[in-house]
Symmetry: C2
């Protein structure tokens, strides 16, 4: 049972995009503390134009004490065999996937030596983080395209196989900001085995084994279709609006936890066991900053 959803053993930090890079940097601190002194590989492969991504992360991570950072960019799939690229992972304690197009991550890295290196780091206990497109790519089935800011139309959704670090969930990002509840409901309707997880900007889930906790300033929406009694997803014409009855919805904030196997929220003290129940991520960041002064 314990491996039903998680393949590797390191933590996953799955971020809804636009994480704070200049203030408390709660989420980047979370990534940093899981590196255990190892190198951080910033994978900018999701971007068609990676210029600037690495510089911004180098500045933000350097400011919180992470100094061994390298950029992994892959223009073409053929480069994933280059020894030079593969040596970037030497001594790595984590990989951070930046934003862009999730289909670039899966199409360029899927079933390549680079992907094997990422997986090896994860299996050795390293942290795998992803923001925006990098968040979507974490699951075995990923949401690629679908309209925001409207009720889901039956025919308007594109899914693709992701990296598969977490199973049986579909992750969406920039969630409240882009009005994406409709498309996530549409994805869950296709097969309610998949749990929908919508993550706001500057918000992340930190996933270990089968539980995650929430950090950051926004919300995390969990869409559970297990009890759905009716949906028209397979019956209606492509332009029809989705109808789906008896969805269970949780909105989780900083400090809340969630058990993926039981499919239910957990009080903050129950999850991770790595932080006191009363201490929020913001508190922790402040303590950490104070300790670094």
């Amino acid at each position: 049972m314990t491996d039903r959803r998680r393949v590797g053993t390191g933590p996953l930090v799955i971020i809804g995009g636009h994480e704070d890079k200049e203030g408390d940097r709660v989420i980047l601190h979370e990534v940093a503390r899981h590196l255990r002194g190892g190198r951080l590989v910033i994978a900018t492969v999701a971007s068609h134009q990676p210029d600037g991504y690495f510089a911004a992360y180098r500045e933000a991570f350097t400011a919180i004490g992470v100094t061994d950072l390298v950029e992994l960019y892959v223009e073409e799939r053929s480069e994933t065999h280059d020894e030079e690229k593969l040596r970037l992972f030497d001594g790595a304690g984590g990989v951070f996937f930046s934003g862009g197009d999730q289909l670039r991550i899966s199409s360029q890295l899927g079933d390549t030596p680079v992907e094997q290196r990422v997986r090896a780091i994860h299996e050795a206990g390293g942290v795998i983080a992803g923001t925006s497109a990098g968040a979507s790519a974490m699951s075995d089935t990923m949401l690629v395209r679908g309209s925001s800011r409207e009720t889901h139309r039956i025919g308007d959704l594109h899914l693709a196989p992701g990296l598969g670090f977490v199973r049986d969930v579909i992750i969406d990002q920039h969630f409240a900001e882009r009005g994406r509840i409709g498309r996530l409901l549409g994805a869950v309707a296709q097969n309610p085995r998949e749990l929908g997880i919508g993550i706001d900007e500057d918000t992340a889930i930190v996933l270990r084994t089968d539980r995650f906790s929430v950090i950051g300033s926004g919300g995390v929406y969990v869409v559970d279709g297990g009890g759905v009694t009716h949906s028209n997803i397979a019956e209606a014409e492509p332009h029809r609006a989705l109808s789906i009855h008896h969805v269970r919805l949780h909105v989780l904030g900083d400090g809340d936890g969630f058990d993926l196997l039981e499919r239910r929220p957990a009080a903050s003290g129950d999850v991770g066991a790595e932080r006191p129940a009363e201490e929020t991520a913001a508190d922790r960041a402040r303590h950490q900053d104070a300790a670094e002064l």
Copy 2:
């Protein structure tokens, strides 16, 4: 029990804004057929600048055979006693509240002779319709202001007493289009006795006694907080994101029904008993158009 939620006896047509005025006009047809030959009063009072609203509705309703239309506008509350204004309701079979600011509807009409006339029409079986701000004003507690496109922040929500044609619900409009699930969840969290109903553009609920059916091109979101096990609405600081666990959510489309007392969706054949189960609103509009040719 039967009067727990509904005060009057006529139907309510509650519209999420931007209803189709040029194509099939499914929603305007629905309003028209409940007039039973009576006059339609277009109440543009929600608008600070009503110019143009009435002309657009006159054109749209005239095209589907409603010819006795008058505009009710109230600049100042003192005008609600004018005999001239009150005579506008003579022979009326319905009142249609257009969009604007819901606080103008309640502050200008609340507890006035004009409001009494509207209520009398409703109690006599006339149709009361409202779109956008006019939709929000239908319930006893109405949502006035709150951020769209973000997870609800505890302190960021303004409610006010509405016209009270339907009790124990809070209505929001332009729902998916403006990403308003967050603020509706915030409103429901304040007191889960209130059922949240979010209506998309060009979509309406047609409410009779304790049941409604859905018509139009979008979706209707029903947020039921009855089973909520935890929320931080009363505990957290104003800037904190809302946390709320175990919400029940239904997304309803054209032809779906909902029972407000039982708080559950109903198959289309169960609701209203005024339309065959197999006939959608679009079908009906087509039949009606055909009959008018």
